[in-house]
Amino acid sequence: MCATSTTLPPELEWKLPARGQVGMFALIGAESAIFTIFVVAYLFYIGKSLSGPMPSEVLSPPILYTICLLSSSLTIHLAAKSLRGGKVRSFGAWWLLTIILGAIFLYGTASEWHRLIYKDGLTITTNLFGTTYYSLVGLHGFHVIVGLLALSSVMAFTTFGAVKQEQAERIDVLSLYWHFVDAVWVVVFTVVYLIGR
């Protein structure tokens, strides 16, 4: 076994980025590319539906639910900050609030879909608007669900007292994902409810 024996100059301090953060940023890059394709498809197909209902007739911006989702970014930031400071109880409280806000948002999407399907008769097969709308919003909703499942499992661990200050770095990685889910909603909201209507 001959490992290299050349020694380092002592002044060199060896520090590398955390792999969790880098991995999550790479995943976010891949997810952004997926969302980009769906957003491009949505923008391209605006106004190309051959039959109704059209977005202007049935969509209204879900401002309240949007506020809920976006403010959950703030609460998860505060939660992660509390854990880094070692305040596990305050972490748990902010974390729970994040989950509640995310769940409210998800309820908002569900009720909008229910109204569109049963009242306005818009399904994924109705027209191009239906296809692109349910795909894009659904893809985002899917990411919210995945995020909520991850957040809830951390919540369960917190309840059983298994989350401690040492895990702050991992919690930061998860909160990075949640910030991404929120940021994507800003794009989806702009495209679907502002540009596309």
Partner: protein, 557 residues
């Protein structure tokens, strides 16, 4: 202590049973084992994809041949393309990246070993899904069939109307599943290269292999994800009755083309960058000189990465785009030849004045240089939109991209196999058999793909299952098919060499090539933990420094 109390391990414990062995390999998270799994898996699919190519060439050996039916011919070219790209070249490149990156950067494993295993099994089951279509594509009716929509699966061929049964669904699912595997591996490579380097190995001191694979992983993230999105859309269309690519409901078939080629062209660079990585390691060692222009090589790679994201629509000149779009894609496509040309000159400059050893890996890399140059030149020819209008979808295109993938990528891959085989197996390969493989394959390659350009220029379209005699295509097709048999013989010699050398080869020792990167400092094959102590490096050639303490590289870098 009495002798009875000493518990000697019995033979069964010393050599684990087949089931234990299998269990170890299936549940492994070791980057070296996963690397070998990737490579063996890809070699199996290489044989399958090669057989499909041979079937097509036998069918085209003479006009009005009836070796296979037109339906089977369609399935053959679809399965050949899909298999070779997604289940041969990508897995084998991921295999080498997996095996070598941690060793080269002085790490004990990848950043996420379990994600690594997950990615491999996703890719593996993706390939099985694709081939399960042969039995399962008609669902419960029994007799199945393979996808026959072409490897880029243009709409509306993939709609329920034109693609009855489940063959297209298997194709979609296979690519979706293996795409998740590719993205997982890419994330892993990025995190490994950025976060796991041994002390002293700054980005500027990394082996070029790690650099090129880092850029490759970035391209996978940006290229395979759009394919994943497009496959989801196709599934929405086929299963949920969506209209993304349904022209009857206002959807657009051209959008599928854009989405596919947004993946498809960067994908070419995903495949070729690791091939460049092999050449960048092999050529310096066998020229006995450090790589020429390391910073420029890195810069050119990054440039290729960026430009490759903006060239996709040169696959679509014949579709009919606006002249502004045509102009943009002509210019960007020609521009990408510049950094690629810089690389070729750097490899030549590395060889210039060097003490070249014509071992098998080096032979393959030298052939790669010439062939990749020609492949690039026919690429620039087709980058000119008017030329492409004439030759788009002809055998000229087929000849061009096989020149890239076989003449460029596969030749480098063979070089890599011979170069790292001693490290992976601990045995030295048979040099005469390696040379025989090289000469058989290069003769076969040139017979097939040099002469394939000509029927293309004479107007022979791709994807036809037969042709009329008397168009001037007959002799060329005969020669092309004869070349295939030389290539097949070369592949058999190659596989035979690997197997024979693995069981009967001479021990290789740690460093058979007197090389300079860290993987040669540990045992062959490396122990599970790779390095007994984590090395630290001061230059791009740590083993040179070790072997020449009086004249180390770090004094000059």
């Amino acid at each position: 202590m009495s002798t009875e109390s000493v518990a000697w391990p019995n033979r069964a414990a010393a050599s684990p049973s087949f089931v234990d062995h299998l269990h170890e390999w299936v549940t492994t998270v070791d980057h070296k084992r996963l690397g070998i799994l990737y490579i063996v898996y890809a070699l199996i699919f290489l044989v399958i994809g090669g057989i499909e190519a041979t079937v097509m060439r036998i069918q085209l050996i003479r006009p009005h041949n009836d070796f296979v039916s037109p339906q089977v011919f369609n399935r053959m070219f679809t399965m050949h393309g899909t298999t070779m790209i997604f289940f041969v070249v990508m897995p084998v490149l991921f295999g080498f990246a997996n095996y070598l990156i941690p060793l080269m950067i002085g790490a004990r494993d990848m950043a996420f070993p379990r994600l690594n295993a997950f990615s491999f099994w996703m890719t593996a089951f993706g390939g099985l899904l694709l081939y399960f279509s042969l039995v399962g594509a008609n669902g419960l009716y029994g007799a199945g069939n393979a996808p026959d929509v072409g490897w880029f699966a243009y709409a509306p061929l993939t709609s329920q109307t034109f693609s009855v049964g489940h063959s297209t669904d298997f194709w979609t699912l296979a690519l979706l599943v293996s795409g998740f595997g590719s993205i997982g591996t890419a994330i892993n490579i990025i995190a490994t290269v950025l976060c796991m380097r041994c002390p002293g190995m700054t980005l500027a001191k990394m082996p070029l292999f790690a650099w090129l694979n880092l850029i490759m992983a970035g391209l996978v993230i940006l290229a395979v994800s759009p394919l994943t999105a497009a496959q989801i859309m196709l599934m929405v269309d086929r299963y949920l009755g969506g209209h993304f690519f349904d022209t009857q409901a206002g959807g657009s078939a051209v959008v599928w083309m854009h989405f596919f080629w947004v993946f498809g062209h960067p994908e070419v660079y995903v495949l070729v960058l690791p091939a460049f990585a092999f050449a960048s390691e092999i050529i310096p060692v066998f020229s006995r000189k450090p790589i020429f222009g390391y910073p420029v090589m890195v810069g050119a790679t990054i440039a290729i990465g960026f430009i490759s994201m903006s060239v996709w629509a040169h696959h679509m000149f014949t579709v009919g785009m606006s002249s502004a779009a045509n102009t943009f894609f002509v210019i960007s496509t020609m521009a990408i030849a510049v950094p690629t040309g810089i690389k070729i000159f750097n490899w030549l400059a590395t060889m210039w004045g060097g003490k070249i050893e014509f071992k098998t890996p080096m032979l393959f890399c030298i052939a790669f240089l010439f062939q990749f140059l020609i492949a690039g030149l026919t690429g620039v020819m087709q980058a000119a939109a008017p030329f492409d209008w004439q030759l788009g979808s002809s055998y000229f295109v087929v000849a061009h991209f096989h020149y890239v993938i076989v003449g460029g990528i596969l030749f480098c891959l063979f070089g890599a196999f011979y170069y790292w085989f001693p490290k992976m197996s601990g045995k030295i390969y048979s040099e005469p058999l390696g040379k025989l493989h090289f000469w058989l394959f290069i003769i076969g390659f040139h017979l097939t793909f040099d002469f394939m350009h000509i029927p293309g220029l004479l107007g022979m379209p791709r994807r036809i299952y037969t042709y009329e005699p008397g168009r001037g295509w007959d002799t060329w097709n005969l020669v092309v098919t004869i070349g295939v048999f030389f290539q097949a013989a070369g592949i058999l010699v190659f596989l035979g060499n690997l197997i024979w050398s693995y069981f009967g080869g001479e021990p290789a020792g740690n460093d058979p090539w007197d090389a300079w990167t860290l993987e040669w400092s540990t045992n062959s094959p490396p122990p599970v933990y790779n390095f007994y102590t984590i090395p630290s490096v001061r230059s791009r050639r740590p083993l040179w420094d070790l072997k020449h303490p009086d004249d180390p590289d770090w004094k000059y870098e």
